[in-house]
Amino acid sequence: MRTPSGKVENPFSARFVRPGAIPYIFPPGCSLESVYEVFLGNQRLGAVIGPHGAGKSAFITALTDWMETNKQPCLRLELHDGQRTLDQTTWQQLEALHDTVVTVDGYEQLSAWSRYQLRRVCRKKHLGLIVTAHSDIEIPLLYAPEPNEDLAWQIVQYLLARGDALITREDVQVSFSRHQGNLREMLFDLYDLYEVRRTLQSDQSVLDAHPQH
């Protein structure tokens, strides 16, 4: 909900921080175009490797959006909760595809057999394949996000544009350090901090308006 001033109540709400909601910020010298060139050079295979909360899902979402904007059809697959295989409908869908890039978020959760089957189908149908994983896998490395404090602060500044400047750079440094570079957990942590400060600010405004109370 927007306040009368047009700002959102908490810019760290889930809908503002989920993958795709924040434009992906690349380190200097790197861009979606350059990553796509690497992907083509790897025979249209690529793995995005990084620890929890590093921004793998956000990156793959950004890359897929860019490819679709540039008329490269994509099929997005997102695996959850230890999903070990793809369902029948997805396999049928893969068999029917042509000249498409398949993105799999959570590739390493698939069983070895499912992963083999997926690679085989992609090879047979000449499909591109981009996956995310937490550690090295059998697919060549495409991109490895490495969040740092500067990046974390850039993301927070982008979010704070929707709200009030209640989070400082020091807050970001402390939270980023506490969560050991896990951006997702850092943003959820800042949600709570923003909420507390917003409440205090609101209570203070009420007191200022009614000093006799």
Binding site: A14, R18, L79, Q83, D105, T132, R184, F188
Partner: protein
Amino acid sequence: MARWFRLFEKKRGNRRTGSEKIAGMWEGVFFGALFLLGCFGFWLTISLFVLPEWWVNRDFRPVPARILETRVGSTVRDGQTLYRPEVCIEYKVAGKIYRLWTYDIHTVQGNGYSVDKDRVSRTLERFHAEEIITCWYDPRNPEIAVIDRGFWWWAWLVLLIPLSFVILGAGGVSYHLWRWGKSAERLAVQGRPLSLSFSADPDAAMYPFVPEIPSRMGQPGTHLPYRLPVLGAPYRAIYAWLAAALCWNIAVLGFALGTYYAGRFDWSFTLFLLPCLVIGLTLLGAFFRQWMAASAVGETIVEISDFPLLCGHRYRVYLKQTGWLRINWLEMLLVCEEEATFQHGTNTRRECRRIWQKTLWRHERFEILRSVPFETETDIEIPHGMMHSFRSPHNEVRWRLYVRGNAQDWPNFERVFPLVVLPGPDRDRKPDLRPGREVVPAQTSGNEQVEERVTPGQTSDARS
């Protein structure tokens, strides 16, 4: 789109497909098969090892025998040569002379082989030709005789393997038989219980997105009208520890036996085995502790004067705690929590935040005896202006009663009882719209009064 019926179910993300009944049936079949396999293995072990030895030790009679010859018997099984001690003896029973190659009852049955030739040779060194020893013969069939009795200790350990299958299988089958024929509403506390408005359509429901009355509310209380269901059960933890202990110990036992009969049992293997045994004993200990804790703590029963609850109203709550315990402290809390679920990429992140909590009572240092359970009653009030119970696919506001305690020599225990809280009629005393409660405006002159009529079979809630 029509879909062919699956006999198995698949998990797709957070959704499951297929029939729960069929799944339950297959689970029951699995446990039944486990049980039958265990019974068969148990029978096999008993009949091949335990019973013959017992029979020899109980029924066979002694008679002097002369050793004629000794040898190392051998056979080839699965490409491996196996050995056993064989002694040729001569003895007389009822005037008839018998001569046979024997050693123990397993030899007589055609078994008794092992890979350890050295051990077999050492065994035979005790016997010399022309020596007179005692043999034991079967009085019903004197042609059968042995010169070595006693029990193979490991046969009793081997019995544990099929026994574990029997226990697991029986437990699983019993559980499924207990579940069978019961609707999901009767089984799961947070399953699909009775609807407050008998409609699954949120637009038709009287209280949309309020979690529905737990189905076990159909069970009346003995002290107050409604008995609250308890979330979860300690039995899952017990079964889990049992399964872990059995699996681990069986694996270790099997590995040890296999190594022993392969002739590779030496000091280095013993060093490896010791920590495995310690882990196995620890798991067994954990299982027994859980089981005894569940037995000692007993059942926690909570009953309430009315259900569902309304904000701003007061209710009577009754607690009965059974068991056999020396309680250090026992308390009951009324709690309101928020839970938000966020699926981000490959992870599901669930966060729970307690926003309101009140300790209703706390008792310290007393005893609960088997024949004298602890009972107490108290009032609870859902404060006016609080949020009602709410549940949507990813967000929930819930009210619960917690009963927590600590007893001497036992770990802390906790029982959770879900509540359903509706928005209360406001202070202008607008109608109570809970099902079964019809409000009839009374004809009065002057001030408007509202008379509440309660459907027979229900009780009115205590007003503050």
